[in-house]
């Protein structure tokens, strides 16, 4: 017999290193010869989209196209330290560093423009399409390229380096009081499963994922992260087992360590919830790890709803489910 059940789970997750540990990202912005803008950050791209999002943040501040940004990362001889690509912290931490550094770069750019345009002050200068112009008299303008050429002749460089440090406090070990993380990311997932009461096999037939993101910098990539997190969470809940025996991994190959295939997953319905975070770059927060967290509890709750058994040890394999159904399940 096949029985269906629904389950939900909610989670909140503090991103960043937390607990008062110094969580610092640094970014350097430079005007390059042809008027392009380089961003140097020691942020590692592993497919999560850091390069894209950091370029987006930088280009937004200067009002230029993403193609006009040269992103230099993953080269420690050329970049300042931006911390690890971990703790779901790159969008928030390094994103903030890029934003602050770009703002201070813009100030310097305006100072250079003031000289070049023979103005008394940099007040009222704005930038768009790789040009700096006077808002009240836009004919008064120069280009990034002209500024770069002038600097090259004078053998000078225009650059700005800034850091961002996330704010957290250590928890009091006695009372547990403190602000160990900031910001937090929230989510709520719902799944529907079908449990085969004869074999114990679980099929996930529906998945709904609502994810708070602060501000969605790149909705497509956010959806991709949610999909990937769901798949990892589903594997964790139902299949993946290292089989650790006396410090050795028994399931050390894909024929034994089973991860979900395209056939093991349902279509994932995604809801991006925007509630801008006041300390985030343009309101954005990190979601890398959070997207995984509610999946397993939602699935286990759905199994309980379907056949009345509580699986307390992962993965919820058919054998475990069948045994639980036989001993006390309601089918």
């Amino acid at each position: 017999m096949k029985k269906r059940g629904k389950g939900i789970a909610v989670s909140f997750y503090g991103t960043g290193y937390g607990n008062g540990f110094p969580d610092v990202s640094t970014a350097t912005i430079r005007l390059e010869d042809e008027g392009k803008i380089s961003i140097s950050v020691g942020a590692t791209e592993v497919g999560q989209g850091a390069k894209t999002v950091l370029s987006q943040i930088g280009s937004e501040v200067l009002g230029i196209e993403i193609e006009d940004i040269v992103l230099i990362n993953e080269d420690t001889s050329k970049t300042p330290d931006s911390g690890t690509a971990a703790a779901s912290r790159q969008t928030y931490n390094t994103g903030n560093a890029v934003k602050i550094a770009m703002e201070s770069f813009r100030k310097k750019l305006f100072e250079e423009s003031k000289e070049l345009l023979g103005l008394n002050t940099s007040i009222g200068l704005e930038t768009k399409n790789k040009e700096v112009y006077l808002k009240m008299f836009p004919q008064k303008k120069t280009t990034f390229k002209e500024i770069a050429q002038k600097l090259k002749k004078q053998k000078r460089r225009l650059e700005a380096t800034e850091s961002f440090t996330a704010q957290t406090t250590e928890m009091d070990p006695e009372t547990g009081q403190g602000a160990p993380y900031w910001p937090y990311t929230f989510n709520c997932y719902g799944v529907e499963v079908e449990v085969d009461t004869e074999t114990g096999k679980v099929d996930i037939i529906r998945a709904l994922c609502a994810q708070d993101v602060g501000r969605a910098m790149n909705p497509t990539m956010i959806e991709g992260q949610i999909d990937g997190g769901f798949a990892m969470g589903a594997g964790y809940a139902l299949f993946e087992d290292l089989g650790l025996k006396e410090g050795r991994i028994k399931n050390n190959k894909f024929s034994k360590y089973i991860i979900p295939t395209a056939l093991d997953l349902p279509e994932i319905e995604k809801f991006i919830i925007e509630d801008p975070e006041s300390t985030g770059p343009f309101g954005a927060k990190g979601i890398g790890e959070p997207v995984m967290i509610p999946v397993a509890p939602a699935i286990l709750n759905a199994i309980y709803n379907a056949v009345g058994v509580r699986i307390l040890e992962l993965p919820a394999t058919p054998e475990k489910i069948l045994q639980a159904i036989k001993s006390y399940g309601k089918v």
Binding site: F254, T261, A262, L263, L265
Partner: protein, 164 residues
């Protein structure tokens, strides 16, 4: 050593190889088609997928001699950086690529599917890529991309038909 002849991405090769050379090593190390990836080396992950005579195979499981006299397509034969295949364009546009390691295999599985089935359902697509493991994407945007590529290819097919 043994002599084999094969055609890779439209070009003929006549080579002397060790009898026990795997196809993946021939493609990567001898011929330089490093777009073909090795994940598990035992037929489980699909990262090493290539198209052999119209069908996808795991190049880590075949000996190079098994490709004697045959035609092979690797990811390098699908499109070039400045002239991408609609499947590749669709992967890029729809956010299907995260770390990228599974992607050459995914694109080749998609190509083999769309060559046979012009209008696949999402279930057909999931079936076709079920031998390709992906740790990053949850497959959804890959499925979206293949579905969209099938529409583009169909449209182009009917347009070129009208021109005739």
């Amino acid at each position: 050593m043994i002599n084999i002849k094969l055609n890779v991405n439209g070009k003929d090769y006549d080579l002397e190889i060790e009898e026990d050379l795997r196809l993946i090593d021939l493609l990567r190390d001898r011929l330089g088609f490093t777009g073909t990836k090795e994940g598990c080396g035992e037929g489980e992950c699909g990262a090493c997928t290539v198209i052999l005579e119209g069908k996808t195979v795991n190049s880590c499981l075949l000996l190079a001699i098994q490709a004697h006299g045959k035609e092979i397509t690797t990811i390098e034969g699908i499109g070039k950086e400045d002239d991408l295949h609609p499947i590749q364009e669709s992967f890029l546009e729809n956010g299907a690529v995260q770390c990228g390691y599974c992607i050459p295999g995914m694109v080749l599985s998609a190509k083999a599917l769309l060559d046979k089935n012009k209008n696949p359902t999402r279930k057909d697509i999931r079936e076709a890529i079920s031998g390709n493991l992906c740790r990053c994407t949850g497959y959804e945007k890959i499925v979206d991309s293949i579905e969209k590529a099938s529409k583009i290819l169909q449209q182009r097919g009917s347009e070129s038909h009208e021109q005739l």
